[in-house]
Symmetry: C2
Subunit: 460 residues, 2 copies
Amino acid sequence: MGIAADVKAALVAAVGIANAREDADARLQYGTDALLRGAPADLVLIPGTVEEIAAIARLCHTHGVPLVVRGAGTGYTGGAVPVRGGVLLSMERFDRILEIDEENLLAVVQPNVLTGELQDAVESRGLFYPPDPASLKKSALGGNVAECAGGPRAVKYGTTRRYVMALQAVLPTGEIIRTGSKAVKNVVGYDLTQLLVGSEGTLAILTEITLRLIPKPPVAATLQATFVDVGAAVRGVTALLAARVVPATIELVDAGSLQAVERHLKRSVAPAGTGAMLLIEVDGVPGGVAEEVALVDEACQSAGALAVQRAATEAEREALWEARRALSYALRASAPRKINHDVSVPRGRVPQLFELLARLEREHRLWIPAFGHAGDGNIHVNLMVNPDDGDEMTRADRAAQELFEGVVALEGSISGEHGIGFAKAKYLSLELAPEVIALMRRVKAAFDPNGILNPGKIWE
Amino acid sequence: MGIAADVKAALVAAVGIANAREDADARLQYGTDALLRGAPADLVLIPGTVEEIAAIARLCHTHGVPLVVRGAGTGYTGGAVPVRGGVLLSMERFDRILEIDEENLLAVVQPNVLTGELQDAVESRGLFYPPDPASLKKSALGGNVAECAGGPRAVKYGTTRRYVMALQAVLPTGEIIRTGSKAVKNVVGYDLTQLLVGSEGTLAILTEITLRLIPKPPVAATLQATFVDVGAAVRGVTALLAARVVPATIELVDAGSLQAVERHLKRSVAPAGTGAMLLIEVDGVPGGVAEEVALVDEACQSAGALAVQRAATEAEREALWEARRALSYALRASAPRKINHDVSVPRGRVPQLFELLARLEREHRLWIPAFGHAGDGNIHVNLMVNPDDGDEMTRADRAAQELFEGVVALEGSISGEHGIGFAKAKYLSLELAPEVIALMRRVKAAFDPNGILNPGKIWE
């Protein structure tokens, strides 16, 4: 549809010509995320101040121009991608750590600070920001908050949501607001901070984030436990939680993923005959860690582990984590396209989830390797397909539909980390009842009466 | 104003005559909470099913009848108390624990299950529900969720918010909805679950709550550290957090509160010359606890503790906690009226908060003992007054106003645990900007277009 010339002129004037682009390259470059789909915006704006963003929002609100906010563009569901043209607002100039307050255990950051960047900065002071999405070296904290990013450590430390104390944000109608406070406990009015976390850029534009930090656990120990199959591995997880241990991470890797990563790394990662692997890390004070390591070993043995190996050196620990981190890349290299679905089920039902995956593999003749966060039942299911094979793509579509139906039947969720964006919008009604979706739309309208902010996301 | 006869008849019919009351006794009995203020409802309804609640909501919505939901009535800000008559909906018949799922570490409860009741039930199975408001023996989980209750253990384990996974609720318009899921990680759509937590009964009627549980820490150790003044005590807190210890509780008691509790218990609680006391509990696996006890001791000594005493037996531990739990009663017995304000500041600013309290005591000639959760900066400030002394009440009003202004100036919050209700509504704008309040009102309208649910709360 495009933007009327006079409106476009006003939008460009809001940031200055040097910070506005409408060349095809820019529109394409800012037009997709890790999902590699999307439609280019009509205009890319790169604001430098909150006031500029407020001016842009007011113009888009007044003239009904779609407005999409983009951070680092590492999302998997198209949350930061335009689908109806309009303005693409890049937060790239909001990239500063504004404050690290050691006494009050908090940090104030601009949204485009990278997750790993903040972690390095606080860990050098003995503090800790736990959320660790696999993309942490490339993903921006604004996007982490917008999608409520998780990661391996969520089983012990919770997801991004737990660490967001306060926000500065611009409403789609142009007001600049502040929510929450620097006090850890705050029950004044509705918790708009928590409502904005995970709202996928559809309610407000985040411009400043205050994050809670915790003391860095002094020591950590990493163990790899191998099992004959996923069922045995999950019995290990149940046994160690029954032993009252809460590891910092409990990562599960299935046989297919394991083979892919061994091919990719050109080395053996687990003994032959391994049908599933757990990567377990415990952390805390030395005495506690020693004790927990013993309990983890005992729990895995009691579940019939083939082998339990503890990393004795930092190099060995690195080697274990290298395999976990290489999973996505290894799988991506194993087929023309990897469709990644981050489904989530009650932890004890992970075995049923894997039974479902085995059935889908058989019935739809697909390779579906899976791995993920066994401790909280959040599993990354990968449909390995060739986009040029129409029949295979159709079978993958059917498999995805049955996967999401099965997950909801297990009282789980169709997304544990990545959000809905536009990629999963057509599945929303599998999990949410019509009256709940209607209520969410009324909440959306309370923030964005003209529906200009990130349109076409969450629901179709 | 009263309820039209035909509407009242329909409302009574919805629950059956045996579960409806309009006698003066019932209207009074259901008309106040721990704040001891409020106006009686016109009609008290005691429903037994979700469908009955939905029918009541539809009637109140259609005919514009105020509808107030009441749990155990232990709130401090009038959240469960009618102020405009109408219907008082008592949840007392929703008092069952529906499910304790040990494998998936969750519990499903009806809202009027008492907090302590759930804790006993899960701890007998080696599980743990951490939120521990002082009222836990009397307060209902529905109220805990509606107000986002905290407690001493929040410093390590977080408040009620962290444990609410899913809700069944009735909208003021009569729809029965479910939010969240039994999966720990769920980012599908807006987080309505978190929005309802702390919404003070103004957005929806909670009818079923799914709570996350954690493994019960196998051992705990309790220490009492005494200091010459609050400043030294808070230096102790900073030192132990700097030592990377996160105790399960860090409770602070000031001199005035200490004297009151010693009078009340008729025994000495701390050595003479004590100006402030910390009650610290660490928990976890034995090895970790032993190590943390040593670190806590060291940290308190380094901050100049007068004495650090560890409870060697369960009886000694009980004695230490008896003093902490007796605080509220001891203070209540020390003056005709105790006005309790649960203000919250960034932890490092607790000393400035106590400086402010000292100034308010001097300038307004009031006794203002304070105690609370030093670890997260959430302090219970008690204005001790005689309601029959008009001049003293006026001075207390002025002191409260200056207290809240001071707390906001310290980047804190006017309520860390108790909520706003109607008691603090006139102070809301000290903390929240007009555009934020306007946004909250639009969110309220998205749930409750006719404004029938718990009117007169949060804002005036």
